[in-house]
Subunit: 747 residues, 2 copies
Amino acid sequence: MKTLKILSVSLLMSLYTGTAQEKPVDYVNPFIGTSNFGATNPGAIAPRGMASVSPFNVAGKQNVLEKDSRWLSNPYVHENSFLTGFTHVNLSGVGCPDLGVIITMPTTGDLETDHLKYGTTYTDEVAKAGYYSVNLSEYNVRAEATASTRTGVTRYSFPAGKSNILLNLGLGLTNEQGAMVKVVSPTEIEGMRTVGSFCYNSPEHAYPVYFVAKFSIPAEEFGIWKKPATYEGVEAQWMTYNGKTRMMKDFTREVVGDSIGAYFRYDFKKPTQVEVQIGVSYVSIDNARKNLEKETGGLSFDVVYEKTKNAWNEQLSRIEVEGGTEDDKTIFYTALYHTLIHPNIFNDINGEYPEIATGKIGKTDKRRFTVFSLWDTYRNYHQFMSLLYPDQQLEMVKSMLDMYDENGWLPKWELNSTETFTMVGDPASVVLADTYLWGLTGFDIEKAYEAMKKGATQLEDNPIRPALDDYIRDGYVNSESLPDGVVSTTQEYNIADYAIARLAKALGKKEDYQLFSKRSLSYRKLFDKKLKLLRPRNPDGSWYEPFDPVKGANFEKNMGFIEGNAWQYVFMVPQDIEGMIKLMGGRKNFETRLDYIFDNGHYDMANEPDIAYPFLYNYVKGSEWKAQKRVRELLDTYYKNAPDGLPGNDDTGTMSAWAIYAMMGIYPVTPANPEYTFVAPRFSKVTIHLDTDYYAKDKLIITSDNPGEGRYIDKIIVNGKEHQGYFISDKKLLSAGEILFHSSKKH
Amino acid sequence: MKTLKILSVSLLMSLYTGTAQEKPVDYVNPFIGTSNFGATNPGAIAPRGMASVSPFNVAGKQNVLEKDSRWLSNPYVHENSFLTGFTHVNLSGVGCPDLGVIITMPTTGDLETDHLKYGTTYTDEVAKAGYYSVNLSEYNVRAEATASTRTGVTRYSFPAGKSNILLNLGLGLTNEQGAMVKVVSPTEIEGMRTVGSFCYNSPEHAYPVYFVAKFSIPAEEFGIWKKPATYEGVEAQWMTYNGKTRMMKDFTREVVGDSIGAYFRYDFKKPTQVEVQIGVSYVSIDNARKNLEKETGGLSFDVVYEKTKNAWNEQLSRIEVEGGTEDDKTIFYTALYHTLIHPNIFNDINGEYPEIATGKIGKTDKRRFTVFSLWDTYRNYHQFMSLLYPDQQLEMVKSMLDMYDENGWLPKWELNSTETFTMVGDPASVVLADTYLWGLTGFDIEKAYEAMKKGATQLEDNPIRPALDDYIRDGYVNSESLPDGVVSTTQEYNIADYAIARLAKALGKKEDYQLFSKRSLSYRKLFDKKLKLLRPRNPDGSWYEPFDPVKGANFEKNMGFIEGNAWQYVFMVPQDIEGMIKLMGGRKNFETRLDYIFDNGHYDMANEPDIAYPFLYNYVKGSEWKAQKRVRELLDTYYKNAPDGLPGNDDTGTMSAWAIYAMMGIYPVTPANPEYTFVAPRFSKVTIHLDTDYYAKDKLIITSDNPGEGRYIDKIIVNGKEHQGYFISDKKLLSAGEILFHSSKKH
């Protein structure tokens, strides 16, 4: 099978001409997003890795944010202080807890398997792309982590004396429990762990992740621990061991249970390093072993890290930036890094993966991608992938179509071949149309169209678009169609319909084009002219009462909106901004309304619905400087070279893609319409290396004479000619070669 | 590998000349022992089968004896009434709960997975050797069971309509929990279940039993159910499914957990039979599948049953009886059946089995036996095996020696390659010596002797003989050596030392013979001449106080004795009956003391220590009729053709072996001394078919002219000559050809 596309070495070299300290990979700060609920983690991961190794510090009351005390979706929180191990499968930038399991932990002295007792404070954290390390205060052990695509690798530097490596399968971020473990030999452990119930949904689809762990030094002693559930009934009086943790020394058979683990023990004469490689698979233990053997078998920690670091640098070097502060570069390359984590590779080294919903094991010679947080990513992430990594975007689209083949439906929020049905709308249709219309046509567009149309038209047993009948009949989902979020749902269906219409037009399906174009504007029926907001209607057409425009922020459930309120949704009609301008009573009113939202705290940078708002000023001629101003302010306020340096949940790279675009000075404001709008870039020069397998030009250079505070664009030169307006089509952009922003101080 | 030795067909035919209704196999009543804590079960099993299928009716308060409400060691109790499935691995006649798992259950209508809800009353039970069936009242389903050695086979006759077959891995007799299950296809399920902690000991050695289940009709719908532990913490508020059973329809991945199962569903147009074959293995799922495929693959229920029935008949036909009532024959052949359940085969069809303690998978081309309840079976069971099934006895001995090779120690109470260390003493030594001295010399006697001597002499880290140093120094284990049972332990060590001495003599090891002969009599130091009882001593040699001769009956713990009191132990010196006669002050006092015990309710037929007491009258010339009388009374009182037809726990066939011997008129009163003593037989003619691979004569015939009530032996004719006394050596017995008892009315 094909591996991540590698640019030739000579190209790689040519990409970069600076000193060793200044490679793009050196600008990655994985701590960004590890506070302020960014939900990233500082762990080691390869680009789009299935395995990753994250420090796990969210268990135990010693921590500020404890996993069981709230809705917490990340294995690591920067302000916490009590570490209980290193997890080997993790999600990054998602809003619900899952994975965060297969935990290793080095300790010294006597064996202790209770994480509340073996946990420790720590110092001297280091995190880089593909690398994490920390000193464990209690044990004087340095723990380091790196990873290949499917294998997590750790290295523990023990002092002389008794040392232990725990493999804890009881503890985890996921609420799912149940594991199997077997010590195969003094250098190998295999097993599985149950994960799933993402967003506290679909527990019946909880599923296994398999692993094989190989140790560089044979255990001098090994065993299993198991803490069974407490037995009830009179008979329990004879069970002196009832509910207690049992230590199964030398045990080499399978052990299953909710709270189990394996331990390896050593007694080192002198300080000693032990390296642990953990291959993972969602297919089988055998495949986990194959993944490990093929990727890291026989390789030292240092070699694995070097390969992964190089892989990161190759990916990150697709964009070079000059100018800007060191922090700007760190924010930029870390954002780019965060866009290269999910969707991640899901198939094993032999091509096998669990199909979605069928229970079968599929096989592919492509990459099978997973973790499609499409409600987020349809807005800007996949556009960015099409621009920078067209080969990856195409394989993501193909993965989505394979899901359709397997499942009968496009994905909605797919996670490791489970459909979590999180969020609303029909975002896959937008991504498929956008990719094709962008010019990446190398996939089965007829199948894609069939799949999109099925989701948009099948009235019964349609898991993608609930209340579709109401939507088609009335143009909106009403207050009795669904328990909440009916306006949001209508808007999302509109956007998806717009995408279908656009694609239909491109495919010459004129009737569909007419039909879906019309459907895409039906949100207008929810526009209350008095309030100048969208609001929910009852089945009889009357407005749903009560209506509070502010209700819905901070994830508060409400009838109209999902994860947002009326302010944050009213302009989320990218398919019909001109229509919205009319509804608002003209450009002036449109601009005033936008101003009102920003100036009165109604804008929420932390979530997706209003993500494109600042760019909408570009629709008001003469006020484009406000787009530049708002974007600059938002970047300055929310994107920092610090753990709280993301506005909130990264949403599998969507927030990061926003920052990348914003810092480069372009933004794809309308999904499924391959057009960019301009703002002032953050850097004096941005060089985007284009993939010449897909694009005629090998680069796009964006330069800016002064993108700083108080200065705004007064002229945009595209290929030496002054560009009219603040929008540019994909074709023009890709063939531009160079875009030059002239700025002057004004406003 | 070698299968159970099959006598030639012509011999088989010649063994039996009656009508079809009267084959030995037809006299087996598996309900005997299913009440009165006999701990047998009426399930279907092949001779020495690893798999068996027992009805499971000990869960739920609807039952008189509920498994969690007391110490209950059997999957079935005859007086219970609420059945919750059919278990596929079971123990028979043991005193501690274990196994009783891999439960199938047919139901109809809606799917219900809670055994308290799906359980049902039942009628029309039928149990035969290798067969069990029952009507499930709630469902109008007839459930039938049979088994090959390693595969349990059930057949469910469903009415038309919705039907379900549950495979419940949560429920079980064992207190261990934890299972894995995977639906492989609509006709196959595989998985494992944790078992162990026998006698509430050694939970750290709990281990897996694997299975593969094949269904004759593909499921129309299938799935898994899982009831996870209830999640605690604030986070649980979002888990609407917290602690609830989840139904995982169509799920085909591994699921692990404490309370899980798989279901197959059907909707039958007409009444339909489904056959389910469940292969088991203690090595792996693959081996379970091989076991199934080789033994029952492609065979119908009826064919499997026929083969198993024939195998039973072949084994049971080794003894023919004539005369006696139908009940006598049923009691006799059921007892014989019960001696052919444990020790059972443990290796898979490919020879593999888990070694004891090492964690390795061993391989053998012999039969590997397991379930060695040696504290029970050394007394008469293995003597009987040597007589009737010498090939099996030899392979049992070889299995014990293989355990020594693997483990460094002979077994004590071995169960599925775990050493449970239940009971006291060093019984393996007795069995090894007895077998060799009986003339079955086809095993590595030097290794055996080395193993025996190690257990008898290694002072430190000796798991077989705790407090051995005290025993060797003082001749007894004192009141501070062990928490309880110090007299019993001393007596058991004496008996084992006697066996070693006897073997040493036979092997020409004169010094050892002297040493161990002397050691074997040291119990005498515990004889209190005043009380004429054995009693515990303190370390300083003084008597331990308080001393109550009655204390210790009914499993009451006490300093002196294990599972018995001073009365039940005082004559348990089979190696030194003449010495005991002297201690008692001569034969008259000896006899009076015996009478006192029997006549005052101090004799306990339900346990082993005093099992040989009634035969001890044969040591008192002129009083041998009392042996005949006591034995006849005990048989009449405790052995019945009824569920409560065993005196108590069958102790893996020991109680049954007692009855067989007693009914044949011979008993091996002194272990490791191949000598029999006589009582009046129950039958007018007993023909024992001897294995001519081992013995010169092909049969031993025991006839009796009138063994009935009020008549006693007045003459014993051996090979036509009047025999002197009531004892006969093994050699004389085996070469006797015929023994004739003349009886007359007297006393």
